[in-house]
Every structure is written in C-alpha cells, then in structure tokens.
C-alpha cells in the first residue's frame, strides 16, 4: 500500500511539471498568435515538398520521411527493450506485447483457418497496426514542429514557396496524414491479397471468381476489387488529416488555452487507435476474402 502511494506521488509531481511546461508554452503561443485566422487556416493544406518540378518520382515530403524514421526508431527501441528481458515469466512490457499480438492473432485465426496463410497475414496486419498506431500516437502526444508552406506569386509571375518552421504551435505531422503513406500500404495489402488468392485457389479459379454470380457482373467485380485500396487508404487519411485540421482550428478558437496535444487526446489517441485497428482488421478481411 505504501509503495502505491509513493508511486502516485511521483506521478503527481511529473504531471505538475508537465502542466507547468504546457501552460508556459501556451502563454508564449497565445502571445505570438497570428491575429488573422486566415494565416492559421490558409496554410493547412499546403505541403512541404522538396524536389525538381515536373519529375514526380523525385519529389518527396521531408516531414513524412523524417517522421516515418522516428516511428521506426521508436518501434525498434521498444522491441529491443522487450527482447533484452525476454523470459518465460513475462515482465510488464513483455506481457503487454504478448497480449497485443495474441489479440490480433485471434482475429486472424478466426477469419483465416488455414495456418499457411494465417501466419504471413498476421505479420502483415500486426506490422501495419503497430506502425499506424505509433504514428498516430506520436503526433498526438508531443508538441512539436510544424512546417508552414505558403505560396506567393512574385512580380515576374513565378510561384515562390516560403517555408517557415514553427515551434510548439502544433503537433508533429503524422506520416499517416500524408495520403502517399496510406496508399502505399493499401496497395501493398491489395497486391498481397491477390497473390494469396491466386496461390490458394489457382489462377483459373481466381479468374473465374470475377464471373460470379453471373458473367455480366464482371465489370462490377473488377471495380469492387479496385475500390478496396482507394477506400482503405482514404479512410485513414481523412480521419487523421481531418483531425489535425480540426485541432488546429479549435486551438485557434480557444486561443491556445487548451494546447493542441489535449485536443489530440480524442483525435490522436481514441480515433487514431481505432483507425489503426480498423486498418489492420480490414487488411485481414480483404486477404481472408481472397483466400477462402
């Protein structure tokens, strides 16, 4: 009992320090807030893109790339932490990791009974879940850097982009709020599901599946298959980007009295975790629909 109260005290002190930092940052933010709301909202949909104009495959979004590597580093760090103290009697972290994996594996096994396809599907779904969940959470917890890009047309008619880094006014840009990230994963899931379908049923039965229930339904079936990655990726993109824009607008309305991370408690933690779960569950469902 005494140990418990001690821990609670420590948590209390940490929470107070956290609050003090946040209130200071909030006051600084409120002091230097742009007076015109258009300055805040106008930059929302602009992206920071680096690369030569016109060459589509060389143009990248540096914020997404950097944040992706941060997410990967966090996942590797946690995996090493668990691996170091790996034992038969699980520690807290190991128990957490194991229960998470078991939870996903149960879903995979209930929808794909065949062990040969259940294991790779589990690996894919678990990787997607971990990556998306961490990337949604990391953009929700910590006040970070946001990049503001504004397009200005100068006197000679050329478009000039101004890049401005703003500290602590918004949260980190999530990799999942970039459609390219989501579309990559959705297309990957689509290709894997088709490959598994061919492997499980044979190419003849797979092609025949498009003619069911009647041959006239062929275009409908093809469109139905192609619509899967589109809806899969746009769902995650819309949720996270919409959440980010709403947080930015709301924190402007309340003049940074509530800092963005507090508002992100809903959009980042609740909605973000649910979307990560939905994304991986739908990946399992798409693969299962092709395999069986």
């Amino acid at each position: 009992m005494s140990k418990n109260t001690k821990i609670a005290k420590k948590v209390k002190v940490q929470f107070l320090i956290f609050l003090a930092i946040y209130i200071t940052v909030g006051l600084i933010n409120a002091r230097y807030l742009p007076k015109d709301p258009r300055e805040v909202i106008g930059n929302v949909a602009n992206r920071w893109i680096v690369g030569p104009e016109g060459v589509w495959y060389l143009r990248i979004n540096p914020a997404t790339v950097v944040m992706s590597f941060v997410v990967i580093a966090i996942l590797i760090w946690f995996a090493r932490l668990v691996y170091k103290e790996f034992s038969l009697i699980p520690t807290r972290k190991q128990a957490f990791a194991e229960s998470l994996m078991e939870f996903v594996y149960d879903i995979v096994q209930s929808s794909i009974p065949d062990e040969k396809y259940a294991r790779p599907t589990f690996v894919i779904a678990m990787t997607l879940f971990l990556y998306i969940a961490v990337s949604n959470l990391i953009s929700g917890f910590i006040p970070g850097i946001s990049v503001e890009v504004s397009k200005v047309i100068n006197e000679s008619g050329q478009v000039v982009r101004h890049v401005k880094f703003v500290l602590f006014n918004d949260t980190f840009p999530a990799p999942t709020s970039d459609l390219n990230t989501n579309l990559t994963y959705a297309v990957m899931v689509f290709l894997i599901s088709q490959y598994f379908g061919i492997k499980a049923k044979g190419i003849k039965a797979w092609l025949k599946g498009f003619l069911e229930p009647i041959p006239i339904m062929l275009p409908m079936n093809i469109i139905g298959e192609l619509a899967k990655p589109v809806s899969h990726s746009l769902r995650l993109f819309g949720n996270i980007t919409g959440g980010g824009i709403l947080v930015l607008a709301l924190s402007y309305f309340v003049k940074y009295m509530f800092l963005p991370p507090f508002l992100w408690a809903y959009f980042g933690i609740f909605s973000g975790l649910i979307q990560a779960f939905v994304f991986s569950t739908l990946a399992i469902a798409y693969i299962a629909s092709q395999v069986s």
Binding site: V44, A45, N46, S231, L234, R235, F237, G238, N239, T241, G242, I245, I274, Q275, F277, V278, T281, L282
Partner: protein, 87 residues
C-alpha cells in the same frame, strides 16, 4: 463596369461558391454515416442487452462497422478539403 470591379466580383462569387459547396458537401455527406452508425449502435446495444457476456466481442465488431459506415462521411470531408484548399 470596369475591368477591376468585374475581377473583384468574380473572386467574390468564387469564394461564395466554395463556401456554399463545402458546407453542402459536409452537411449532406454527414447524414448517411449518422443514420448508418445509429443503426449499428442500435444493433450492438440490443445484442449486448440480450447477451451481456459477449460485450467485448460485440464492441470490437461495432467499432469496425462504425468505421466502415463512416467511410462516405470521410469521402465528403476529403472533398470539402479539396474544395476549400485545393481549388
């Protein structure tokens, strides 16, 4: 009317059209998901009332079905962003 005021009028009409279009898109697009999620929630509540021991399973399935019913609403959100920021 001279050239300058025609330009200003055209910009005003564009802004008004954007605002009306975005509002209509989001407002009408939110009806479907609202009805759909209401149905899902109703079904889940009835199922939980009938079989309280299955609450965990039903809640996970309900969240999944909610997210799928939400899709059209998210589409209209994306299109609203396109209208407001990209056009």
């Amino acid at each position: 009317m001279d050239q300058e005021s025609v330009k200003i009028l055209a910009e005003a009409i564009i802004t008004a059209g954007k605002a009306i279009g975005a509002g209509l898109c989001m407002g009408l697009g939110a009806i479907g998901p609202g009805v759909g999620e209401g149905h899902v929630g109703q079904g889940a509540m009835e199922a939980i009332a009938r079989q309280p021991e299955l609450t965990n399973v039903i809640t996970t399935r309900m969240l999944l079905a909610d997210a799928i019913a939400e899709t059209t609403g998210i589409y209209s959100l994306v299109i609203t962003f396109l209208i407001l920021f990209a056009l």
